[in-house]
Symmetry: C2
Subunit: 703 residues, 2 copies
């Protein structure tokens, strides 16, 4: 996630060119055969095993995992990143607590790094060429961890190199961009050294948020193809999706010097921040400032490099249905030490795989379905490892994957669960959350605690916790958008009444360290443990339940609400253009009916009289529902996005994205425009998808 405020527009006679906010297209948030138990077709979730797993997930082991994982910076493809590959392999191949097998495999992908020889530089240059001020080129070494040679200097990955400094041609002809994080957005206003890390969890004045500025995801040179060494690669000079101009992130300490000396009109209220001055729009420095008549010089020397980046996969063979996969993954690479992002997730992953591996090696347990653990490479650069994996194994994954569980940053903060996912996973997340105690004081379940922070009124269930929808902020994106696999992302997060910070303050900086987590984010690691229990419970329910705990009926609420929004906001104008929402109403009704009948049918089945193929057939209907919403031809201009319900959507109406996007384009184009034909086409695309989905949910012997 690139939630960054841009100190934008550079360059020019005296020229800060603009001030803007870029919301990134996607956010990179943060986010040996053992003895086999006897096989029974009817093998179902064993609540004792579930209890055992819950009980064995150990907060102190998660803490030790995190200490080791975040001991050194482990930028994608760095030596330490590769050392962690070996650590994962060693854990997953451990004879006492490992999995059935584990492998690492590398892709050759295009990454972007700052030059070591020529550091990126931001300076104010006086009229005679003398440097009046220079921004820091690295963060202050506050804990002894910010000074190492492996701390990558702040940079904007994939921003091109260049040294803009000139008269700017026109108000909006931005030649370069400076990005900083305002204390108003990240620190609840705090900005002084003694009120920031290491004295609190707030971002120190020198802290700089790194990030990728590539517009799409996946390896930039091999869209839709796995980035194997022999794969066809685009010419980097012609790749679309890279920023067109140099970008450099700086700390708010330096941003203050630049921003508080600007002249010109005041920036809009929403753009004002906590640097202690009135933000002006420029152009140029204030005549009273020592910088009057100066220019800002930005020198970016980023370099594109083909690098090997590894995924690590660990496998537990299913006892009954080995060809059904439950995937659980997180990325491994960080920008610097990455204690929160992503090691808080990896520490949980390792603890969960240890507990399950131990039961496996002891012969106590083997899941009904196969379980695949994944440690993805190069997520920070654009979900690269996971995307290449989905490209390489497209067919196999699409045919066999039950669901994908993503735990990237496991703990943003200690207040409450936050879960995102597609509707079919709501029920399994709720079931898990109801049975796990909340880590805070008191005796609430995670569910009962969660509902206090995020809730909504469901027409079917009444007040329930609110499951968020999935964007493209972490490695679930290729699974849901490209493969149509039901996915979810699980974490512990903030009490929003206590902080308005965009994200935890040291996000993507050199201050995201073990000490930071240990002291400020989750002392005692109880929230980490809670997330491990949540993820573990969800995983076991998916891997072991006789019937998949995917409630396809829960899609109906989404469809109804999308439909109502379409009717309410688009209905009148659509009617004017002779486009009826009637077929959509019918399609949603058909879906609702088929989904309800299937759920009802499953709920009344007597488990002991079932034959294995009956179970398999019904589970296939549940598993494959999400796939039926894929249409690779629906949005050709949106790379990878094929899910007709979750593709990117413009506008604020929460409805079918293809319809909404076409509608707003047609609105702009005006009446009589051919763009209204595209609105009708997009409507027909989603109607066909819903009708097709309903057809897969009906009894398989229906014509």
């Amino acid at each position: 996630m690139q939630w960054v405020k841009l100190l934008g527009g550079l360059v020019g006679a005296a020229a800060l060119l603009g001030l803007g906010i870029i919301l990134g297209h996607f956010a990179i948030p943060k986010g040996a055969e053992p003895p086999a138990p006897s096989v029974s077709f009817a093998q179902d979730l064993d609540l004792e095993i579930l209890e055992t797993v819950m009980g064995q997930l150990d907060a102190s082991r998660i803490r030790e995992n995190l200490r080791e994982l975040s001991r050194e910076p482990h930028l994608a493809s760095s030596p330490r990143d590769e050392a962690l590959v070996q650590l994962l392999l060693q854990r997953w191949r451990d004879p006492q607590s490992g999995l059935d097998s584990a492998e690492a495999s590398a892709y050759e992908v295009l990454l972007s790094f700052p030059s070591q020889e020529q550091p990126n530089r931001v300076a104010i240059v006086g009229p005679t060429g003398d440097i009046l001020f220079s921004c820091r080129q690295s963060e202050e070494n506050l804990t002894g961890e910010q000074g190492g040679p492996d701390v990558v200097p702040p940079y904007a990955a994939y921003a091109p190199s260049g040294t803009p400094q000139a008269v700017n041609a026109a108000k909006f002809k931005v030649a370069g961009v400076l990005v900083y994080t305002d204390p108003a957005d990240i620190n609840d206003g705090r900005s002084l050294p003694n009120e920031t890390f290491p004295h609190s969890w707030h971002l120190p004045p020198s802290g700089v948020e790194r990030g990728s500025y590539y517009e799409y995801f996946g390896d930039p040179l091999t869209p839709y193809l796995p980035a194997n060494p022999s794969s066809f690669r685009l010419d980097p000079d012609t790749v679309s999706g890279f920023p067109p101009i140099p970008i450099q992130p700086i700390g708010f300490q330096d941003a203050k010097v630049l921003l508080c000396n600007l002249q010109g009109n005041s920036a809009p209220d929403a753009w004002q921040g906590a640097l202690g001055c009135d933000y002006k729009l420029g152009p140029g420095f204030h005549p009273d400032s020592v910088f009057t008549g100066s220019q800002v010089n930005v020198s970016v020397y980023n370099r594109l490099e083909l690098r090997n980046s590894s995924n690590v996969l660990g496998f537990i063979r299913g006892a009954v249905e080995p060809d059904r996969y439950v995937l659980y993954g997180n990325h491994r690479d960080s920008w610097v030490h990455g204690a929160v992002d992503p090691s808080s997730g990896t520490a949980v992953l390792l603890e969960l795989s240890r507990v399950l591996g131990t039961l496996l090696k002891k012969g106590t347990w083997r899941p009904r379905r196969s379980v695949v653990f994944a440690s993805w490479g190069a997520e920070e650069f654009g979900l690269i490892g996971s995307t290449e994996f989905t490209e390489e194994f497209f067919s196999k994954l699409q045919e066999r994957t039950v669901a994908y569980i993503n735990v990237d940053i496991s703990v943003f903060a200690n207040a409450t669960l936050r879960a995102q996912g597609t509707p079919p996973v709501q029920s399994v997340v709720f079931s898990a959350a109801k049975q796990i105690p909340s880590p805070g004081p008191g005796s609430l379940s995670i569910y009962d605690n969660w509902i206090r922070y995020f809730n909504r009124s469901s027409p079917v269930y009444g007040l329930v916790p609110s499951l968020g929808s999935l964007g493209a902020g972490s490695d679930y994106a290729p699974f849901i958008h490209f493969l149509g696999i039901s996915s979810m992302d699980i974490a512990y997060t903030y009490d929003r009444s206590k902080t308005s910070a965009r994200i935890y303050p040291t996000y993507h900086t050199a201050f995201d360290t073990f000490g930071y987590v240990d002291k400020f984010v989750d002392p005692g690691f109880r929230s980490h443990q809670a997330v491990a229990q949540m993820a573990g419970s969800v995983l076991l329910r998916l891997s072991d339940s006789l019937f998949l705990p995917l409630n396809v009926s829960d899609y109906t609420e989404t469809l109804q609400s999308f439909l109502q929004a379409a009717q309410q906001y688009f209905g009148a104008l659509l009617e004017q253009h002779s486009i009826s929402l009637g077929p959509l109403v019918t399609a949603v009704e058909k879906f609702e009916e088929a989904a309800a009948a299937l759920s009802q049918h499953i709920s009344v089945l007597q488990k002991d009289t079932l034959d294995p193929l009956q179970v398999r057939m019904l589970n296939d209907q549940l598993m494959l529902l999400e796939r039926t919403f894929l249409n690779p031809r629906a949005f050709p201009e949106e790379r990878y996005y094929s899910h007709v319900l979750w593709a990117p959507r413009t506008g604020s109406v929460a409805t079918f994205p293809g319809l909404a996007n076409a509608y707003f384009r047609a609105m702009k184009a005006g009446a009589g425009s051919a763009a209204w034909a595209e609105v009708h086409r997009q409507l027909s695309i989603v109607v066909a998808a819903l009708e097709g989905a309903a057809a897969t949910l009906r009894p398989v012997v229906n014509l």
Copy 2:
């Protein structure tokens, strides 16, 4: 299939403009619950049932079916076409010999018909405007069947209306096209009335071949969407794929008048035919001819009409795996009586469904998997009914369909079997063919007879009958190209040493009648019976075998031969452009290894020790292999074609189509062209598909 010779270029001062051959983009050739037996997971093909079915398929019943089906013209969407829908429903709902259920459903599709008020007209018009000669507007009523009101006059469907007659602008600026079938191509040179039908199977001089001239397939107004009434429809005026200029087909009797009076240079040898004169290129009529100074006037009054066209589906529920479908289909619509095309196939379909339905209703048999019989509408206009069906049920069909069996024209002639299909169906076709006696004299099996007519030397098996590959000539096209379902087409056909006719002579004319079939094509209907036995045996093997009789290893030969062709013909130049075929070699090897291992694994399994889910998993690997070759983004400009091995291919090198097409484009573009990058990209696409396919064939617990 539009194998037609064009008497082309019309119009102009004195102007026949050209003579050409159009090879159509695709050819439209011509071609209540009973008692349930007890269910066992291990239910396998029952050879006794198979024998029973073979024995009950009755030649005389096929003959009676054909008589009824071809009694009247049944052009798509005509009243008689709808009456046949009712006939099919009645048969399939028969309490004694019907199926479990049957339904008809209509799509609203764009068809093209000649005007009844203004007949299409071709005439030679003298300098003063008087009509010197008119082509026939209908075929001669030779058997009393050519004169009825339901015989659609000859026309070229989807050719626009227009009345071209003018000075032609330039040699190749054709303003209209006349099409005729030369006796050299269709009649082995015969052209006299007394040597043609009803005196022989040859085409009478007045016979005219109708056909569709739409470039793609499916309903022209709703590409990728089912043509439901509410679906978005393109504006017919902007649809691509319709001919740009008027076209009219005529008989060779009329073509002779036009062609034998031309002046100008002689046409090339390959363009000469059997009309008894030297074919000239024009422009203009010969000065010695009575037509000198005259023009040809073509008046086409075709009209586009939205019509309801029905598919009929009949269903037999599978006893063990009802969610696995074996599809068997043929189109129902004809151009006129359509005794050969398509009723010879429908007559077989009805007989097979009767025999199976009878066993079903008696409680003697129920297939392991579900069987779906289909009677498609509007195939002649461009595979419309089948394509709309695949669009409507895309997900359901792709998830569950084992294979699609197409029997369109069942008997072209009496000599030999002709089968087309993708490699996995070769083995099941061979197995069936070996056990069915050839209909001719002697005691050969269909297989042993077949190998005498069409054979090839297989590196694996030695001399075997040659299974043809599938183009887009009948309703299998959307199943193989759009859905990636293993498909086949089965028929009896010619002794090529006895005729060089492009196709049976009365193809798409008003002379394709019951009497024609009964007297000339298959007196006694033994070839029809043989095709019924072949199709029935293949269907039963697919629906009832414990392991699907799809031999995935047989794809290896195709891949090897495609690879060798690529190396031989493209290798040197690719190397010059630094494109290595090495990764393709590796990918083919990986496929070969994985396929062989899977086949070997299945062959040594002890059927009695298997559990039902093991069988299901292996069968899923076999069933879904064909799907792994689909890449909907590989050929965006080729509508529906997504199969990376069978998409349309330019050039004569039998190899991977994407690679070949890109290669020839790059050749034309010349060295240094960016088109070579596309060659490399297409190579990577097929490599990724093969690697992905291999991954699905490996043991499901492999990472």
